[in-house]
């Protein structure tokens, strides 16, 4: 279990449902480790200001997280966390390892147009 203030996805089926029901979805798949926790912090902060994006986390070591670990977009990834950005049911972007606020915001702005929506 991940101790964050974000919604935690527990099953692959639940993730698929979230992907299908949310136009913009960001899921960080990691552990409670030094590279992952800062990304959760960024997401917790952004969750308060980005109404058009659904934010969630998933435990990397859960067998159910194979849906992310084995995603084609994560091929070659060698650093936690694996962070997925889904747009209209498809992977719009995936990143490996730690990301800061500026990097995450940049992706959200590029793929989810968050700067326009939340201006």
């Amino acid at each position: 279990m991940l101790h964050t203030e974000l919604h935690e996805v527990e099953t692959a089926a639940e993730l698929e449902k979230l992907i299908s029901e949310n136009e913009n979805l960001m899921v960080c798949c990691g552990r409670m480790g030094p590279m992952c926790i800062p990304v959760y912090g960024v997401m917790e902060e952004l969750e308060e200001e980005c109404d058009n994006v659904k934010f969630a986390v998933m435990a990397f070591d859960s067998p159910e997280a194979g849906i992310i670990r084995n995603d084609e977009a994560c091929r070659g990834f060698m650093g936690l966390p694996f962070t997925m950005y889904y747009k209209d049911g498809k992977v719009a972007k995936a990143t490996s390892s730690i990301q800061n606020m500026q990097q995450v915001k940049g992706i959200l702005d590029e793929h989810f147009c968050t700067s326009d929506v939340n201006a």
Partner: protein, 306 residues
């Protein structure tokens, strides 16, 4: 009318959150401005078993509790922002953010903490997460059966190199000097490990690869000879630096860019205090940061009363 807080705390790690808790509880209007995730280095600690009164916890939970305590006492916290400039000399202190916002207060506690050093080499950012890592515990398993380099010569580098031998086929430790700064027991552990080899008096110069890291260039410092080495991963542990770059020329720092303070955590400027990993001191622990934050908060309260 523009609001002037009693106190702005720069930094939301153990020192900053403690200052926020003490000051807010004393009815001092307090705002914490934090550049990263709340909790600072503390959240990066997997297990904390030596925090008095707490049998065992992890850094994230301890930080979350501190954050909640501060907020419950009325402390405002703004995090994941970028500070552009400081104006700390007058009676009213000003902190400007890159997004254009400016905050004012009668006193300031600087607790920006420290951050891991990176090598700033060509290709480093590109291969982060695709062969370059800063955490063996997190990412070691991705290098099972592979050959990796560990850069550094301190305790973290040597201990993480030993940890990596649980996964990697071979671990090369690259260090710029002919000796290590680590404690002798850490050096002994590394030297006894048959999977570890040492490349001394050498530094990395660049990273390259097709999508993932495949090769590094190495310079042997005494001879200046450059060689290329095929490699699957590089783990970088070259220490921490205080986050005080923006404070140079504003307050007094030592040669390591640590803030100079007296026993009351006063800096060289009236009404400006400092606490935590950013100050000149020998030991850096959650407990020492908490103590610094407490003292800085009480000193700031004294200053505001006077």
């Amino acid at each position: 009318m523009e609001e002037v807080k009693d106190l702005i705390v720069v930094g939301g790690g153990a020192a900053g959150l403690t200052a926020g808790i003490y000051s807010s509880r004393a009815r001092i209007s307090t705002l914490i401005l934090n550049e990263g995730a709340v909790g600072g280095q503390m959240v990066l600690t997997d297990e904390i078993a030596n925090y008095p009164g707490v049998e065992k916890t992890n850094g994230y939970l301890l930080a979350s509790t501190m954050k909640k305590q501060a907020r419950d006492f009325g402390c405002k916290i703004k995090s994941n922002l970028k500070i552009k400039s400081y104006d700390l000399e007058g009676e009213i202190k000003k902190v400007a953010l890159e997004d254009g916002r400016e905050f004012k207060s009668r006193s300031v506690i600087l607790a920006p903490g420290g951050s891991p050093r990176s090598l700033h080499l060509p290709g480093e950012e590109r291969f982060k997460g695709s062969g370059i890592s800063y955490c063996a515990t997190c990412d070691g398993e991705f290098f099972t059966g592979k050959e990796v380099i560990v850069v550094g010569g301190g305790n973290s580098a040597l201990e993480e190199a030993v940890t990596l031998t649980n996964h990697a086929r071979k671990v090369n430790i690259v260090h710029q000097f002919d000796h290590f700064q680590a404690f002798q027991h850490a050096v002994d552990q590394a030297e006894m490990n048959p999977k570890i080899e040492f490349i001394m008096e050498s530094e990395l110069r660049s990273f390259s690869g097709n999508g993932v890291l495949q090769e590094v260039s190495l310079e042997h410092l005494p001879s200046g000879e450059l060689t290329r080495k095929s490699i699957d991963g590089v783990f970088i542990f070259v220490g921490y630096k205080p986050n005080t770059a923006d404070l140079k020329g504003i307050i007094e720092l030592n040669e390591h860019d640590e803030i100079l303070v007296d026993a009351d955590m006063k800096t060289s400027l009236p009404g400006v205090f400092a606490a935590g990993d950013c100050i000149q001191k020998k030991y850096r622990q959650v407990t020492t940061a908490v103590a610094d934050g407490t003292i800085a908060s009480l000193s700031a309260a004294d200053y505001l009363r006077s």
